[in-house]
Protein backbone atom coordinates (compact mmCIF):
# COMPACT_ATOMS: atom_id res chain seq x y z
CA UNK A 1 0.00 0.00 0.00
CA UNK A 2 0.91 3.64 -0.50
CA UNK A 3 3.73 2.96 -2.94
CA UNK A 4 5.24 5.73 -4.99
CA UNK A 5 6.36 4.98 -8.54
CA UNK A 6 9.12 7.11 -9.99
CA UNK A 7 9.40 7.15 -13.75
CA UNK A 8 12.62 8.53 -15.19
CA UNK A 9 12.46 7.42 -18.79
CA UNK A 10 10.99 9.48 -21.62
CA UNK A 11 7.97 8.13 -23.46
CA UNK A 12 4.27 7.74 -22.99
CA UNK A 13 2.16 6.60 -20.08
CA UNK A 14 -1.27 5.22 -20.87
CA UNK A 15 -4.22 3.28 -19.67
CA UNK A 16 -4.15 -0.29 -20.96
CA UNK A 17 -7.23 -2.32 -19.98
CA UNK A 18 -7.22 -2.18 -16.21
CA UNK A 19 -3.61 -1.23 -15.74
CA UNK A 20 -1.26 1.61 -16.39
CA UNK A 21 1.37 1.00 -19.04
CA UNK A 22 4.57 2.84 -19.65
CA UNK A 23 5.87 2.82 -23.22
CA UNK A 24 9.42 4.10 -23.47
CA UNK A 25 10.93 5.70 -26.56
CA UNK A 26 12.53 2.45 -27.70
CA UNK A 27 9.07 0.84 -27.48
CA UNK A 28 9.73 -1.06 -24.28
CA UNK A 29 6.49 -1.76 -22.37
CA UNK A 30 6.26 -1.83 -18.61
CA UNK A 31 3.15 -2.30 -16.44
CA UNK A 32 2.68 -0.53 -13.14
CA UNK A 33 0.89 -2.33 -10.30
CA UNK A 34 -1.52 0.49 -9.59
CA UNK A 35 -3.53 -1.34 -6.88
CA UNK A 36 -0.80 -0.42 -4.42
CA UNK A 37 0.03 2.97 -5.79
CA UNK A 38 -0.32 6.19 -3.86
CA UNK A 39 1.27 8.39 -6.50
CA UNK A 40 3.23 8.41 -9.74
CA UNK A 41 6.23 10.69 -10.01
CA UNK A 42 7.09 11.67 -13.55
CA UNK A 43 10.68 12.83 -13.96
CA UNK A 44 11.19 12.38 -17.69
CA UNK A 45 9.49 13.82 -20.76
CA UNK A 46 6.26 11.89 -20.67
CA UNK A 47 3.07 12.17 -22.69
CA UNK A 48 -0.32 11.14 -21.39
CA UNK A 49 -3.94 11.68 -22.30
CA UNK A 50 -7.25 12.33 -20.58
CA UNK A 51 -8.11 8.62 -20.53
CA UNK A 52 -5.15 8.05 -18.25
CA UNK A 53 -6.07 11.01 -16.07
CA UNK A 54 -9.61 9.75 -15.48
CA UNK A 55 -8.33 6.25 -14.84
CA UNK A 56 -5.94 7.50 -12.14
CA UNK A 57 -8.74 9.63 -10.75
CA UNK A 58 -10.97 6.56 -10.39
CA UNK A 59 -8.23 4.84 -8.45
CA UNK A 60 -7.42 7.86 -6.30
CA UNK A 61 -3.84 8.04 -7.53
CA UNK A 62 -2.02 11.35 -7.76
CA UNK A 63 0.51 12.22 -10.42
CA UNK A 64 3.34 14.56 -9.53
CA UNK A 65 5.28 16.07 -12.39
CA UNK A 66 8.92 16.95 -11.89
CA UNK A 67 10.46 19.39 -14.34
CA UNK A 68 13.98 20.52 -14.92
CA UNK A 69 14.91 23.79 -13.27
CA UNK A 70 13.28 23.95 -9.90
CA UNK A 71 12.35 20.28 -10.06
CA UNK A 72 8.65 20.26 -9.05
CA UNK A 73 6.28 21.47 -11.77
CA UNK A 74 2.85 20.48 -10.56
CA UNK A 75 0.43 17.73 -9.61
CA UNK A 76 -2.63 16.18 -11.11
CA UNK A 77 -4.70 15.29 -8.09
CA UNK A 78 -7.59 12.86 -8.01
CA UNK A 79 -10.86 14.33 -6.86
CA UNK A 80 -11.25 13.77 -3.20
CA UNK A 81 -13.29 10.65 -2.57
CA UNK A 82 -15.14 12.14 0.31
CA UNK A 83 -15.32 15.85 0.64
CA UNK A 84 -16.15 17.39 3.94
CA UNK A 85 -17.67 20.83 3.90
CA UNK A 86 -17.40 21.04 7.66
CA UNK A 87 -13.64 20.48 7.50
CA UNK A 88 -13.15 23.29 5.01
CA UNK A 89 -15.38 25.65 6.98
CA UNK A 90 -13.36 24.99 10.13
CA UNK A 91 -10.10 25.35 8.23
CA UNK A 92 -11.14 28.78 6.99
CA UNK A 93 -12.45 29.89 10.37
CA UNK A 94 -9.13 29.05 12.01
CA UNK A 95 -7.34 31.01 9.28
CA UNK A 96 -9.57 34.05 9.74
CA UNK A 97 -9.20 34.08 13.50
CA UNK A 98 -5.83 35.81 13.96
CA UNK A 99 -5.19 34.32 17.41
CA UNK A 100 -5.99 30.84 16.22
CA UNK A 101 -3.94 31.16 13.06
CA UNK A 102 -0.82 32.34 14.84
CA UNK A 103 -1.11 29.55 17.38
CA UNK A 104 -1.04 26.93 14.65
CA UNK A 105 1.76 28.73 12.78
CA UNK A 106 3.86 28.92 15.97
CA UNK A 107 3.31 25.25 16.70
CA UNK A 108 4.49 24.29 13.21
CA UNK A 109 7.64 26.37 13.58
CA UNK A 110 8.24 25.00 17.10
CA UNK A 111 8.14 21.50 15.61
CA UNK A 112 10.38 22.39 12.74
CA UNK A 113 13.00 24.01 15.02
CA UNK A 114 12.86 20.97 17.27
CA UNK A 115 13.52 18.68 14.30
CA UNK A 116 16.42 20.80 13.04
CA UNK A 117 17.89 20.75 16.52
CA UNK A 118 17.64 17.00 16.57
CA UNK A 119 19.92 16.77 13.50
CA UNK A 120 22.35 19.25 15.04
CA UNK A 121 22.66 17.34 18.32
CA UNK A 122 23.16 14.12 16.36
CA UNK A 123 26.31 15.52 14.73
CA UNK A 124 27.30 17.40 17.86
CA UNK A 125 27.56 14.03 19.56
CA UNK A 126 29.64 12.67 16.71
CA UNK A 127 32.75 14.80 16.85
CA UNK A 128 31.41 18.15 15.63
CA UNK A 129 31.28 21.23 17.79
CA UNK A 130 27.81 22.65 17.26
CA UNK A 131 26.93 23.93 20.73
CA UNK A 132 26.60 27.53 19.56
CA UNK A 133 24.15 26.49 16.85
CA UNK A 134 22.13 24.63 19.45
CA UNK A 135 22.08 27.78 21.57
CA UNK A 136 20.89 29.76 18.55
CA UNK A 137 18.09 27.32 17.90
CA UNK A 138 17.02 27.40 21.53
CA UNK A 139 16.96 31.18 21.40
CA UNK A 140 14.74 31.03 18.32
CA UNK A 141 12.45 28.66 20.17
CA UNK A 142 12.16 31.25 22.97
CA UNK A 143 11.57 34.13 20.59
CA UNK A 144 8.72 32.22 19.07
CA UNK A 145 6.69 32.68 22.24
CA UNK A 146 6.87 36.48 21.88
CA UNK A 147 5.70 36.67 18.28
CA UNK A 148 2.51 38.60 17.70
CA UNK A 149 2.11 38.29 13.93
CA UNK A 150 2.54 35.52 11.40
CA UNK A 151 5.35 37.27 9.53
CA UNK A 152 7.30 37.43 12.79
CA UNK A 153 6.79 33.70 13.14
CA UNK A 154 8.10 33.34 9.58
CA UNK A 155 11.07 35.51 10.51
CA UNK A 156 11.95 33.27 13.46
CA UNK A 157 11.69 30.24 11.20
CA UNK A 158 14.05 31.86 8.71
CA UNK A 159 16.70 32.70 11.29
CA UNK A 160 16.49 29.21 12.80
CA UNK A 161 17.02 27.74 9.35
CA UNK A 162 19.96 30.06 8.69
CA UNK A 163 21.62 28.91 11.92
CA UNK A 164 20.83 25.30 11.16
CA UNK A 165 22.19 25.33 7.60
CA UNK A 166 25.66 26.11 8.97
CA UNK A 167 26.04 22.45 9.82
CA UNK A 168 25.92 21.47 6.14
CA UNK A 169 29.34 22.98 5.36
CA UNK A 170 30.85 21.19 8.35
CA UNK A 171 29.19 17.81 7.96
CA UNK A 172 29.57 17.43 4.19
CA UNK A 173 32.97 16.83 2.46
CA UNK A 174 34.96 19.53 0.67
CA UNK A 175 33.53 19.21 -2.83
CA UNK A 176 30.15 20.15 -1.38
CA UNK A 177 30.38 23.80 -0.40
CA UNK A 178 27.02 25.21 0.55
CA UNK A 179 27.34 28.79 1.76
CA UNK A 180 23.67 29.33 2.44
CA UNK A 181 20.43 28.65 0.72
CA UNK A 182 19.71 29.80 -2.84
CA UNK A 183 16.61 29.01 -4.88
CA UNK A 184 15.38 28.97 -8.48
CA UNK A 185 17.65 27.73 -9.84
CA UNK A 186 19.88 26.23 -7.17
CA UNK A 187 23.43 27.54 -7.59
CA UNK A 188 25.49 24.73 -6.10
CA UNK A 189 25.33 21.02 -5.36
CA UNK A 190 23.96 21.24 -1.84
CA UNK A 191 21.27 23.70 -2.84
CA UNK A 192 20.37 21.43 -5.70
CA UNK A 193 20.03 18.45 -3.36
CA UNK A 194 17.92 20.43 -0.90
CA UNK A 195 15.64 21.67 -3.66
CA UNK A 196 15.13 18.23 -5.13
CA UNK A 197 14.63 16.57 -1.74
CA UNK A 198 12.23 19.22 -0.50
CA UNK A 199 10.10 18.95 -3.61
CA UNK A 200 9.80 15.19 -3.14
CA UNK A 201 8.81 15.69 0.50
CA UNK A 202 6.33 18.35 -0.56
CA UNK A 203 4.71 16.06 -3.16
CA UNK A 204 4.40 13.27 -0.60
CA UNK A 205 2.64 15.63 1.78
CA UNK A 206 0.27 16.74 -0.96
CA UNK A 207 -0.76 13.08 -1.25
CA UNK A 208 -1.07 12.71 2.53
CA UNK A 209 -3.30 15.77 2.83
CA UNK A 210 -5.52 14.52 0.03
CA UNK A 211 -6.27 11.41 2.08
CA UNK A 212 -7.91 13.50 4.82
CA UNK A 213 -10.28 15.83 2.93
CA UNK A 214 -8.39 18.84 4.26
CA UNK A 215 -8.21 21.60 1.68
CA UNK A 216 -4.54 21.82 0.64
CA UNK A 217 -4.77 25.51 -0.25
CA UNK A 218 -5.78 26.80 3.19
CA UNK A 219 -2.71 27.20 5.35
CA UNK A 220 -1.53 28.94 8.50
CA UNK A 221 2.18 29.62 8.35
CA UNK A 222 2.46 30.29 4.63
CA UNK A 223 -0.03 32.63 3.04
CA UNK A 224 -2.81 30.77 1.18
CA UNK A 225 -3.18 31.42 -2.49
CA UNK A 226 0.43 31.06 -3.41
CA UNK A 227 1.11 29.08 -6.54
CA UNK A 228 1.58 25.83 -4.64
CA UNK A 229 -0.58 23.97 -2.14
CA UNK A 230 0.35 26.14 0.80
CA UNK A 231 -0.82 23.71 3.49
CA UNK A 232 1.70 21.21 2.12
CA UNK A 233 4.36 23.91 2.44
CA UNK A 234 3.38 24.35 6.11
CA UNK A 235 3.66 20.66 6.92
CA UNK A 236 6.73 20.05 4.75
CA UNK A 237 8.77 22.33 7.02
CA UNK A 238 8.30 19.82 9.82
CA UNK A 239 9.66 16.90 7.84
CA UNK A 240 12.53 18.38 5.83
CA UNK A 241 15.16 17.73 8.54
CA UNK A 242 14.04 14.11 9.00
CA UNK A 243 13.70 13.31 5.29
CA UNK A 244 15.58 15.62 2.89
CA UNK A 245 18.52 16.54 5.09
CA UNK A 246 19.21 13.08 6.47
CA UNK A 247 19.13 11.61 2.96
CA UNK A 248 21.61 14.25 1.77
CA UNK A 249 24.05 13.60 4.63
CA UNK A 250 23.81 9.86 4.13
CA UNK A 251 24.24 9.81 0.35
CA UNK A 252 27.06 12.31 0.22
CA UNK A 253 29.03 10.99 3.17
CA UNK A 254 28.79 7.42 1.90
CA UNK A 255 29.94 8.67 -1.52
CA UNK A 256 26.80 7.33 -3.17
CA UNK A 257 26.50 10.76 -4.72
CA UNK A 258 29.60 12.43 -6.13
CA UNK A 259 30.41 15.57 -8.13
CA UNK A 260 29.67 13.58 -11.30
CA UNK A 261 25.99 13.47 -10.36
CA UNK A 262 25.61 17.19 -11.05
CA UNK A 263 25.75 19.36 -14.10
CA UNK A 264 26.46 23.07 -14.00
CA UNK A 265 25.27 25.60 -16.50
CA UNK A 266 25.74 29.34 -16.21
CA UNK A 267 24.73 30.04 -12.62
CA UNK A 268 22.71 26.92 -11.97
CA UNK A 269 23.68 23.49 -10.76
CA UNK A 270 21.32 20.57 -11.19
CA UNK A 271 21.25 16.89 -10.38
CA UNK A 272 21.67 14.58 -13.35
CA UNK A 273 19.13 11.88 -14.08
CA UNK A 274 21.23 9.25 -12.35
CA UNK A 275 21.68 11.57 -9.36
CA UNK A 276 17.93 12.00 -9.15
CA UNK A 277 17.43 8.25 -9.34
CA UNK A 278 19.87 7.65 -6.51
CA UNK A 279 18.21 10.33 -4.41
CA UNK A 280 14.60 9.21 -4.97
CA UNK A 281 15.51 5.61 -4.24
CA UNK A 282 17.12 6.54 -0.95
CA UNK A 283 14.22 8.81 -0.03
CA UNK A 284 11.72 6.05 -0.78
CA UNK A 285 13.66 3.70 1.48
CA UNK A 286 13.70 6.30 4.20
CA UNK A 287 9.94 6.75 3.88
CA UNK A 288 9.55 3.04 4.51
CA UNK A 289 11.62 3.09 7.68
CA UNK A 290 9.48 2.55 10.74
CA UNK A 291 9.44 3.80 14.28
CA UNK A 292 7.44 2.79 17.33
CA UNK A 293 4.71 5.37 17.83
CA UNK A 294 4.13 5.89 21.57
CA UNK A 295 0.51 7.02 21.30
CA UNK A 296 -0.61 4.74 18.50
CA UNK A 297 1.13 1.80 20.15
CA UNK A 298 2.43 0.37 16.93
CA UNK A 299 5.18 0.75 14.41
CA UNK A 300 4.52 3.32 11.74
CA UNK A 301 6.50 4.22 8.64
CA UNK A 302 7.91 7.70 8.13
CA UNK A 303 5.53 8.01 5.21
CA UNK A 304 2.60 7.25 7.50
CA UNK A 305 3.81 9.99 9.85
CA UNK A 306 2.91 12.45 7.10
CA UNK A 307 -0.62 11.07 7.06
CA UNK A 308 -0.79 11.17 10.85
CA UNK A 309 0.23 14.81 10.77
CA UNK A 310 -2.70 15.64 8.49
CA UNK A 311 -5.02 13.66 10.78
CA UNK A 312 -3.78 15.64 13.78
CA UNK A 313 -4.39 18.97 12.14
CA UNK A 314 -7.79 17.92 10.92
CA UNK A 315 -8.71 16.62 14.36
CA UNK A 316 -7.63 19.89 15.94
CA UNK A 317 -9.71 21.91 13.48
CA UNK A 318 -12.79 19.76 13.90
CA UNK A 319 -12.77 19.05 17.61
CA UNK A 320 -10.75 21.86 19.15
CA UNK A 321 -8.45 19.31 20.78
CA UNK A 322 -4.89 20.68 20.94
CA UNK A 323 -2.57 20.33 17.94
CA UNK A 324 0.97 19.34 18.71
CA UNK A 325 3.23 19.38 15.67
CA UNK A 326 5.49 16.46 14.79
CA UNK A 327 8.58 16.55 16.97
CA UNK A 328 11.03 13.76 16.46
CA UNK A 329 10.90 11.70 19.68
CA UNK A 330 13.49 9.03 19.01
Amino acid sequence: MNDNYHIFSDGRIERHNDTVRLVTEDDDKKYLPIENAEALYLHGQIDFNTRLVSFLNEHGIAMHVFGWNDYYSGSIMPERGQTSGQTVVNQVQAYNDATHRIKIAREIVAGSIHNMRSNVTYYNNRGHEFSSIITDLDRCQDELADTTAVDEVMGVEASARRAYYQIFDKVLPNGFVFNGRAYNPPDNKVNSLISFGNSLVYANIVSAIRATALDPTISYLHEPGERRYSLALDLADLFKPLLTDRVIFRLVNRRQLSVDDFESELNSCLLTESGRKTFSKELEQTLEETVEHPELNKKVSYQYLLRVESYKLKKHLLTGEPYEAFKRWW
Binding site: M1, G81, Q82, S84, Q86, T87, T212, A213, E295, L296, N297, R307, V308, Y311, K312, K314, K315, L318, T319, G320, E321, E324
Partner: protein, 186 residues
Protein backbone atom coordinates in the same frame (compact mmCIF):
# COMPACT_ATOMS: atom_id res chain seq x y z
CA UNK B 1 -34.14 28.47 19.77
CA UNK B 2 -37.55 26.89 19.80
CA UNK B 3 -36.24 23.43 18.94
CA UNK B 4 -34.64 23.26 22.36
CA UNK B 5 -38.01 22.77 23.96
CA UNK B 6 -38.99 19.93 21.71
CA UNK B 7 -38.39 16.38 22.82
CA UNK B 8 -35.82 14.88 20.40
CA UNK B 9 -38.06 11.83 20.03
CA UNK B 10 -40.91 14.06 18.80
CA UNK B 11 -38.49 15.95 16.58
CA UNK B 12 -37.30 12.71 15.00
CA UNK B 13 -40.84 11.48 14.41
CA UNK B 14 -41.80 14.79 12.89
CA UNK B 15 -38.74 14.80 10.61
CA UNK B 16 -39.49 11.24 9.55
CA UNK B 17 -43.15 11.87 8.81
CA UNK B 18 -42.87 15.11 6.96
CA UNK B 19 -40.24 16.39 4.60
CA UNK B 20 -41.30 19.90 5.41
CA UNK B 21 -40.51 19.71 9.12
CA UNK B 22 -38.76 22.94 9.95
CA UNK B 23 -36.14 21.30 12.07
CA UNK B 24 -34.80 18.01 10.84
CA UNK B 25 -33.21 15.35 12.97
CA UNK B 26 -32.47 11.89 11.67
CA UNK B 27 -30.93 8.87 13.30
CA UNK B 28 -29.51 6.02 11.25
CA UNK B 29 -28.94 2.46 12.41
CA UNK B 30 -25.21 3.00 12.44
CA UNK B 31 -25.63 6.03 14.72
CA UNK B 32 -27.49 3.80 17.19
CA UNK B 33 -24.66 1.29 17.09
CA UNK B 34 -22.06 3.97 17.70
CA UNK B 35 -24.08 5.51 20.50
CA UNK B 36 -23.83 2.24 22.38
CA UNK B 37 -20.24 1.46 21.35
CA UNK B 38 -18.54 4.85 21.44
CA UNK B 39 -20.11 8.29 21.65
CA UNK B 40 -17.06 9.87 20.10
CA UNK B 41 -17.39 7.65 17.06
CA UNK B 42 -21.03 8.74 16.83
CA UNK B 43 -20.01 12.38 16.77
CA UNK B 44 -17.45 11.68 14.02
CA UNK B 45 -20.07 9.82 12.02
CA UNK B 46 -22.53 12.69 12.38
CA UNK B 47 -19.90 15.08 10.94
CA UNK B 48 -19.11 12.76 8.04
CA UNK B 49 -15.50 12.63 9.07
CA UNK B 50 -13.67 10.45 6.65
CA UNK B 51 -12.59 7.12 8.02
CA UNK B 52 -9.65 5.11 6.92
CA UNK B 53 -11.15 2.63 4.51
CA UNK B 54 -7.91 0.73 4.23
CA UNK B 55 -8.29 -0.44 7.82
CA UNK B 56 -8.55 -4.25 7.54
CA UNK B 57 -11.14 -4.45 10.33
CA UNK B 58 -13.46 -2.17 8.48
CA UNK B 59 -13.13 -4.28 5.37
CA UNK B 60 -13.77 -7.48 7.33
CA UNK B 61 -16.82 -6.06 9.09
CA UNK B 62 -18.36 -5.07 5.80
CA UNK B 63 -17.74 -8.42 4.17
CA UNK B 64 -19.23 -10.62 6.88
CA UNK B 65 -22.30 -8.48 6.99
CA UNK B 66 -22.75 -8.58 3.23
CA UNK B 67 -22.41 -12.30 2.68
CA UNK B 68 -24.13 -13.88 5.68
CA UNK B 69 -27.68 -15.07 4.92
CA UNK B 70 -27.34 -13.35 1.58
CA UNK B 71 -30.02 -15.35 -0.18
CA UNK B 72 -32.60 -15.45 2.61
CA UNK B 73 -32.82 -11.80 3.40
CA UNK B 74 -33.94 -8.70 1.70
CA UNK B 75 -32.85 -5.15 2.38
CA UNK B 76 -35.61 -2.60 2.97
CA UNK B 77 -34.61 0.99 2.60
CA UNK B 78 -37.05 3.21 4.46
CA UNK B 79 -37.16 6.97 3.94
CA UNK B 80 -33.48 6.78 2.99
CA UNK B 81 -32.55 6.89 6.69
CA UNK B 82 -32.84 3.34 7.89
CA UNK B 83 -32.18 0.13 5.99
CA UNK B 84 -33.16 -2.97 7.96
CA UNK B 85 -32.79 -6.49 6.55
CA UNK B 86 -35.84 -8.74 6.56
CA UNK B 87 -35.81 -12.53 6.56
CA UNK B 88 -38.23 -14.63 4.46
CA UNK B 89 -40.40 -15.17 7.54
CA UNK B 90 -40.81 -11.41 7.99
CA UNK B 91 -38.53 -10.96 10.96
CA UNK B 92 -35.97 -8.16 10.97
CA UNK B 93 -32.43 -9.49 11.21
CA UNK B 94 -29.23 -7.84 12.31
CA UNK B 95 -25.98 -9.68 11.63
CA UNK B 96 -22.83 -9.08 13.57
CA UNK B 97 -19.35 -10.43 12.86
CA UNK B 98 -18.46 -10.98 16.52
CA UNK B 99 -20.08 -11.10 19.91
CA UNK B 100 -17.95 -8.27 21.28
CA UNK B 101 -20.21 -5.68 19.66
CA UNK B 102 -23.45 -7.43 20.52
CA UNK B 103 -25.02 -4.63 22.56
CA UNK B 104 -24.58 -2.05 19.79
CA UNK B 105 -26.12 -4.50 17.32
CA UNK B 106 -29.02 -5.14 19.65
CA UNK B 107 -29.75 -1.44 20.03
CA UNK B 108 -29.64 -0.95 16.28
CA UNK B 109 -32.11 -3.80 15.81
CA UNK B 110 -34.42 -2.42 18.50
CA UNK B 111 -34.30 0.95 16.80
CA UNK B 112 -35.37 -0.62 13.51
CA UNK B 113 -38.30 -2.31 15.28
CA UNK B 114 -39.22 0.94 17.00
CA UNK B 115 -38.99 2.90 13.76
CA UNK B 116 -41.12 0.39 11.84
CA UNK B 117 -43.69 0.55 14.61
CA UNK B 118 -43.78 4.32 15.16
CA UNK B 119 -43.12 5.69 11.70
CA UNK B 120 -44.25 2.99 9.27
CA UNK B 121 -46.93 1.49 11.51
CA UNK B 122 -45.97 -2.19 11.31
CA UNK B 123 -45.05 -4.40 14.24
CA UNK B 124 -42.14 -6.76 13.61
CA UNK B 125 -40.05 -9.18 15.62
CA UNK B 126 -36.31 -9.25 15.38
CA UNK B 127 -33.48 -11.72 15.38
CA UNK B 128 -29.90 -11.06 16.27
CA UNK B 129 -27.57 -13.42 14.46
CA UNK B 130 -23.90 -14.27 14.72
CA UNK B 131 -23.08 -16.42 11.72
CA UNK B 132 -19.52 -17.14 12.78
CA UNK B 133 -20.74 -18.44 16.14
CA UNK B 134 -23.88 -20.08 14.72
CA UNK B 135 -26.13 -18.35 17.25
CA UNK B 136 -29.45 -16.60 16.85
CA UNK B 137 -31.43 -14.74 19.46
CA UNK B 138 -34.98 -13.35 19.32
CA UNK B 139 -35.43 -9.70 20.10
CA UNK B 140 -38.75 -7.97 20.69
CA UNK B 141 -39.89 -4.43 21.24
CA UNK B 142 -41.25 -4.41 24.81
CA UNK B 143 -41.74 -1.46 27.18
CA UNK B 144 -38.20 -1.61 28.43
CA UNK B 145 -36.84 -1.71 24.87
CA UNK B 146 -38.94 1.29 23.88
CA UNK B 147 -37.52 3.27 26.80
CA UNK B 148 -34.05 2.24 25.82
CA UNK B 149 -34.47 3.34 22.22
CA UNK B 150 -36.08 6.64 23.14
CA UNK B 151 -33.46 7.53 25.68
CA UNK B 152 -30.81 6.66 23.07
CA UNK B 153 -32.49 9.06 20.63
CA UNK B 154 -32.31 11.80 23.27
CA UNK B 155 -28.69 10.94 24.02
CA UNK B 156 -27.76 11.01 20.35
CA UNK B 157 -29.43 14.37 19.93
CA UNK B 158 -27.33 15.85 22.71
CA UNK B 159 -24.06 14.48 21.34
CA UNK B 160 -24.67 15.39 17.73
CA UNK B 161 -25.63 19.01 18.39
CA UNK B 162 -22.47 19.60 20.39
CA UNK B 163 -19.65 21.52 18.67
CA UNK B 164 -16.99 19.17 19.91
CA UNK B 165 -16.96 15.42 20.40
CA UNK B 166 -16.79 13.59 23.73
CA UNK B 167 -13.10 13.04 24.45
CA UNK B 168 -11.44 9.77 23.58
CA UNK B 169 -11.45 7.09 26.24
CA UNK B 170 -9.61 3.87 25.66
CA UNK B 171 -11.83 0.89 24.96
CA UNK B 172 -11.08 -2.69 24.05
CA UNK B 173 -12.24 -2.14 20.49
CA UNK B 174 -10.31 1.08 19.86
CA UNK B 175 -7.63 -1.09 18.24
CA UNK B 176 -10.02 -2.26 15.58
CA UNK B 177 -11.84 1.05 15.16
CA UNK B 178 -11.52 2.92 11.89
CA UNK B 179 -10.85 6.13 13.81
CA UNK B 180 -8.05 4.63 15.86
CA UNK B 181 -5.19 6.59 14.30
CA UNK B 182 -7.32 9.69 14.17
CA UNK B 183 -8.21 9.54 17.87
CA UNK B 184 -4.85 8.54 19.24
CA UNK B 185 -2.38 10.36 17.02
CA UNK B 186 -2.24 13.25 19.54
Amino acid sequence: MAERDIDPVELLLESARSEAANASFHVTGVMMQYYEACERELWFESRNIEINRENPNVVRGTRVDDTAYGDQRQNLSIDGWIAPDMLDDGRIVEVKPSSSLIEPARLQLLYYLWYLDRVVGVKKDGVLAHPTERKRESVELNEEAIDKVESAIRGIYEIVRNDSPPSATEKSYCDSCAYHDFCWSC
